[in-house]
């Protein structure tokens, strides 16, 4: 039975890989946009079916003692040093469904959205997408830390390639490299952490490690450092402070890419990691507290930056950072399930927000929310976006309300008062900045009126409506569960009302400022001038990294390069120059005059004679 599940999981995993291989190796297929898109999308449909089937058939099993199936990857003398395989459990099945479904939606949407792209490069786009789907699935199905790291790096590669899809734009090239470097910085910790864990436990396998954790088989001394290092990987990938700076810049990629990779799936890998390895994190409460604090702080910090951002995609990016902070805080507060649920619901509605933003960008050919508006008469354009916004803001019965409330409850229960306050403020700010975008981009008067009744490809709005329907359905389902009494005990009874109040206050404030005009945004900005000034500059964190890169790293490399050439190699050249000079001097002994040579011979003979006499004495 278990092998059966593993086989289905391998099919889910293998399908996108096959599609990638086809597109990468068969040149005519890659060069023809229609063929490439057909292959990629068809395969994705099959993968969605397989992923849902996997989940459906595994449900009654209630997952036996070990859900992993592994094979040897790196052999060694006494049994394999590293294994690969698949781990089919509730978490990985849920992630498989999310990843395949959102991937499919995004690939469909891209076909319409990137219709004006050169046909020849679309094949490359779909090849990267297939590779991404494969890598992300490999990550969530990974039964070992090492395999997770392998796919972790591969999704990073896909992110790099897709941010830089328009590689001749300098800003895209810069953003791609920046994303790679910053996440790599976190990954250094990750790889060091898993190597140290391997040395301590002798295995990379999650299930083995969980068993050891359960039986106190892991050395307690090293664990805080190890788990902190592993957490660093999640900090980079899930854009936690201070490594969050790559995510807003990653918006240089095509919008569908942002929806899939930089909102719904890849950036949540860090959260997934903490969830997956939670039995190990439980051993180190100090690290968990740190995770909660950093998460809550990230959530708040990103929310303030989103309030002053005018680029619609960057607002959404900051909002993603902020929500990832929520999910991390949940894990840190020992409520990983709440964080994981938020990951799933957020994945759907955040993808929808990006795809909806793609529609307005398509209509107005700009990312600036102040140059949009006047779409109020076209509900088929704004309804999905507004639904997703309500979900993000946390209004029932949309799913964001339930999952966010669960996180707040978890953090409250863990007695993390200050993180709780930060997250509550974030909830208010989230509602505010999201409705700021809604009011400006869709309902602002005057600016967009001339564009009345724009043509939006039905494929694009169809995808948005599908995601909206799914989001609403999830929300209704969660509401039913809650009414049925599934509400977890312990959280205070006032919490739902409190979080709804926060969302409502934010929406009202946005309405008053950007719709009604009762409060002048410029006056607010003046009152909060220092905060406004700092938030617009990203609190200078970018500048610090840029300074470190240019000044410290490149500067130091120049010093080393100079030392190598002019000191280390210089000394060598001094030796060779001395050798040359010595040869040059000694050469002068060879005067070419026979008399000199005769004198030389006589002198030598004399010396030998004297020496011989002296020795005889």
């Amino acid at each position: 039975m278990r092998v059966g599940s593993a086989a289905v999981a391998l099919v889910v995993l293998g399908l996108p890989f096959a599609s990638f291989l086809l597109l990468a190796l068969v040149r005519p297929l890659r060069r023809s946009a229609v063929a490439a898109a057909t292959v990629s999308i068809t395969v994705m449909v099959a993968a969605v079916v397989a992923a849902f089937w996997l989940s459906w058939r595994a449900r009654p099993l209630e997952l036996l003692q070990s859900p992993s199936t592994t094979w040897s990857w790196i052999p060694a003398d006494g049994g394999p040093m590293a294994t690969v395989g698949v781990m089919v459990d509730g978490k990985s099945m849920a992630m498989c469904m999310l990843v395949t479904f959102v991937s499919l939606m995004v690939q469909l949407y891209s076909w319409a959205y990137l219709h004006d792209e050169p046909r020849r490069s679309l094949g490359r786009y779909y090849a990267y997408h297939s590779l991404f789907a494969f890598s992300m699935l490999g990550l969530v199905l990974a039964p070992t830390f090492l395999q997770m790291f392998v796919f972790w790096e591969l999704v990073g590669l896909c992110s790099y390639l897709l941010i830089g899809y328009w590689y001749d734009r300098p800003s895209a090239a810069r953003a791609a490299v920046k994303a790679f470097w910053i996440t790599k910085l976190g990954d250094l910790g990750f790889v060091a952490g898993i190597v140290m864990l391997w040395a301590a436990a002798g295995t990379f396998d999650f299930w083995e490690l969980f068993r050891l954790a359960h039986t106190n088989g892991l050395p307690p001394a090293g664990m805080p450092l190890i788990m902190f290092l592993i957490y660093l990987g999640a900090v980079g990938k899930s854009a936690q402070f201070p490594l969050h700076i790559w995510l807003p810049d990653a918006m240089e990629g095509p919008t569908p890419v942002s929806a899939l990779i930089h909102a719904a799936t890849m950036v949540t890998a860090g959260v997934f990691l903490v969830n997956r390895a939670f039995p190990l994190f439980m051993l180190v409460p100090d690290v968990l507290t740190l995770i909660a604090w950093v998460g809550a702080f990230t959530a708040l910090l990103a929310a303030t930056m989103a309030c002053v951002e005018n680029d619609i995609k960057r607002v959404l990016a900051y909002s993603t950072v902020s929500q990832l902070g929520y999910m991390m805080a949940a894990a840190g507060a020992s409520a990983p399930d709440a964080g994981f649920a938020h990951l799933l619901t957020h994945g759907v509605f955040k993808a929808l927000l990006f795809l909806g933003a793609g529609i307005v960008i398509h209509v107005f050919h700009t990312n600036d929310v102040f140059r949009m508006g006047g779409l109020g008469g076209q509900p088929w354009l704004w309804v999905p976006f507004v639904l997703a916004t309500l979900a993000l803001a946390g209004v029932p019965p949309l799913p964001g309300f339930f999952t966010k409330e669960a996180i707040l409850g978890g953090v409250f229960e863990a007695h993390l008062t200050i993180p709780f306050v930060m997250l509550a403020v974030t909830a208010f700010l989230t509602a505010f900045y999201m409705f700021r975008v809604v009011f400006l981009a869709f309902f602002a008067r005057g600016l967009g009126d001339s564009h009345a009744h724009h043509h939006v490809p039905p494929l694009m709005s169809g995808v948005c409506w599908t995601l909206a329907a799914l989001s609403v359905a999830t929300g209704v389902n969660l509401a039913r569960q809650m009414l049925a009494g599934a509400h977890h005990e312990g959280a205070p009874a006032w919490l739902p009302a409190f979080s709804l109040g926060l969302a409502g206050a934010g929406i009202v404030l946005a309405w008053a400022m950007y719709r009604r005009g009762a409060i002048d945004p410029a006056r607010v900005a003046t009152v909060l001038a220092p905060l406004d000034w700092a938030a617009r500059r990203g609190y200078g964190i970018d500048a610090v990294f840029a300074g470190l890169y240019r000044g410290a790293l490149l500067g130091f490399s120049r010093v080393v390069g100079w030392v190598d050439r002019y000191v280390v190699d210089g000394l060598l050249n001094v030796f060779s120059a001395w050798t040359l000079r010595a040869g040059d001097r000694l050469r002068r002994l060879q005067t070419g005059l026979p008399q000199d040579y005769v004198y030389g011979v006589a002198l030598g003979a004399l010396i030998l004679f004297v020496l011989a006499q002296w020795r005889m004495k």
């Binding site: 790196i74 790096e153 001749d168 391997w198």
Partner: protein, 509 residues
């Protein structure tokens, strides 16, 4: 029945090719290439063959051949391969096979060029398969000497401004010219081989068995003091070839001046001779000294990793970047070996292979870029990706392997080295090793972005992608990188059978 002498055929086929080229292909450049292709194909096919049929269960030295040369002195022609040399032979074949294609466009004196190249390759094969230290040394010299002519005649000069307090010496030695680079490389490596020769004779004399055979010397236990000094001699001698800091400065100048195929072969395979020598002779024959001096080997390797990467970052000439990256990666090779752990030593040998293929690919690509753009100045280039997508893709694959991205062979080598480093007696080695991968990511992606991404540079026009035989080299090398990255067991399997006995001898019960 005498079994087919497969190793001898692999080793001597290129040499026969060289002789044929010199005598038969006077005025026919095409015949030169075809003979070179044919003879290297024979070696390549056979090395793939022995790689496949090598008995991994039995392990040990296989395909054994022996022919006494000077019986009174115990010198004989004795060849065999174990898991480690098996992989190195395969690496040599891959690189020379690709190198023949990469130098397809050499214009002047192609007859002599190919003849020297093939003679050199025989030397390299010979080093990897020889079990007799005397013959080993002869092959070693054969692999080093033709470099002088290959770089001095077919190389290219760069420009180095004399600066600093030693500037006067730069003017006197002519730094930057290809003649300087050729002389520096040759003298430096010969200086190293003097140490090796002394070491070999010292072992021959102290063992007292009157034989140069590795197998007999391996059975001898040497006095710890002898071990210490001989290991040091081997470390310096082979280490120079492996580019250990601070004896590495021949490598950037030499590799930057050498023609494409020579850089490929030198950085890809010859530097591995150095590391192979340290592991095979140093660790294999002198286990106690290897344990005693591991701190030195590993410490210097750490410097190599970080220092090489930082130096690479500072370069503005594309070929120098790749050359310094070799210094950095050879540091990882030596570091893995110095950990004296199963993971580390396997990682080290795998890194030799991975880095060889990767750097071979890089030098092939730099050669192609130079051929199309007639420049190696990184910061004048830009936006080449549009005109040469194939080259850009291959460069990216090479770069990703270099920075240790999973699914390339570089990753497997690095993770094994990390694992070994943390389990070794000096766990702090993990820090520079991991830092090195980040620095590599910085310089590799920075260079990739500058050359292939961004808007097209105004300095260049009429750029074009790789053509015809050039593709073969790129496809072969990128394919090997990815296949061995996905299925590392292909290589680790046999390597493990060779490294475990070496380690067992070091850790005495």
């Amino acid at each position: 029945m005498i079994p087919f002498p497969v190793l001898s055929v692999i080793t001597w086929a290129p040499f026969v090719g060289a002789v044929l080229i010199m005598f038969l292909a006077r005025h026919s450049p095409l015949a030169v290439r075809l003979i070179a292709l044919l003879t290297t194909s024979i070696s390549t096919v056979l090395s793939v063959f022995i790689f496949v049929v090598y008995d991994r269960e039995a392990a040990g030295f296989q395909f054994y051949e022996k022919l006494p040369l000077v019986p009174p002195l115990g010198i004989s022609y004795e060849v065999a391969v174990d898991g480690m040399s098996l992989l190195m032979v395969l690496l040599t074949s891959v690189i020379i096979f690709a190198g023949v294609f990469a130098s397809w466009t050499v214009k002047s004196r192609s007859q002599e060029f190919y003849a020297l190249l093939l003679a050199l390759v025989t030397g390299v094969y010979g080093v990897f398969v020889s079990l007799d230290l005397f013959v080993f040394f002869l092959f070693y010299e054969l692999a080093v000497l033709p470099m002088y002519l290959l770089i001095g005649i077919w190389g290219s000069s760069g420009e180095v401004r004399p600066r600093g307090i030693f500037g006067w010496a730069f003017r006197e030695t002519g730094v930057g010219t290809k003649e300087y680079a050729a002389m520096k490389l040759t003298l430096y490596l010969l200086f190293g081989s003097a140490f090796i020769l002394v070491g070999i004779f010292a072992l021959y004399v102290t063992a007292g068995t009157g034989s140069f055979s590795f197998l007999e010397l391996e059975a001898t236990t040497f006095d710890p003091r002898v071990q210490f000094w001989v290991f040091l001699a081997f470390y310096v001698g082979f280490g120079i070839l492996a580019g250990i800091w601070p004896l590495h400065t021949w490598s950037p100048d030499g590799h930057a001046s050498a023609p494409t195929a020579v850089s490929m072969l030198h950085a890809g395979v010859l530097m591995k001779l150095g590391a192979y020598g340290v592991v095979r002779l140093g660790m294999g024959l002198l286990p106690d000294a290897a344990v005693e001096l591991a701190w030195l080997v590993g410490g210097i390797a750490c410097i190599n990793v970080v220092y090489g990467a930082l130096s690479a970052m500072a370069q503005t000439d594309l070929k120098y970047v790749i050359a310094y990256s070799s210094v950095s990666h050879m540091g990882l090779v030596m570091l893995g070996a110095a950990t004296l752990t199963e993971a580390g030593l396997n990682g080290s040998v795998f890194q030799m292979f991975a880095h060889g293929v990767m750097t071979g690919l890089f030098f092939a690509l730099v050669g192609l870029v130079y051929e199309k753009a007639h420049s190696r100045a990184i910061f004048t280039m830009g936006g080449f990706g549009r005109a040469m997508p194939g080259i850009a893709t291959a460069f990216t694959v090479g770069g990703l392997s270099s920075l240790g991205l999973p699914a390339t062979s570089g990753f497997v080598a690095e993770i094994l080295t990390f694992m070994g480093a943390w389990r070794s007696a000096h766990p702090w080695w993990l820090v520079p090793a991991v830092a090195g991968t980040f620095l590599t990511a910085v310089y590799v992606l920075r260079v990739t972005k500058q050359i292939f991404w961004g808007p097209p540079s105004p300095h260049f026009d009429h750029l074009e992608d790789a053509r015809g035989p050039e593709w073969l080299a790129l496809v072969l090398l990128t394919g090997v990188i990815v296949v061995f990255g996905l299925v590392p067991a292909l290589a680790i399997g046999p390597v493990d059978t060779a490294t475990v006995p070496i380690l067992t001898r070091m850790v005495k019960p």
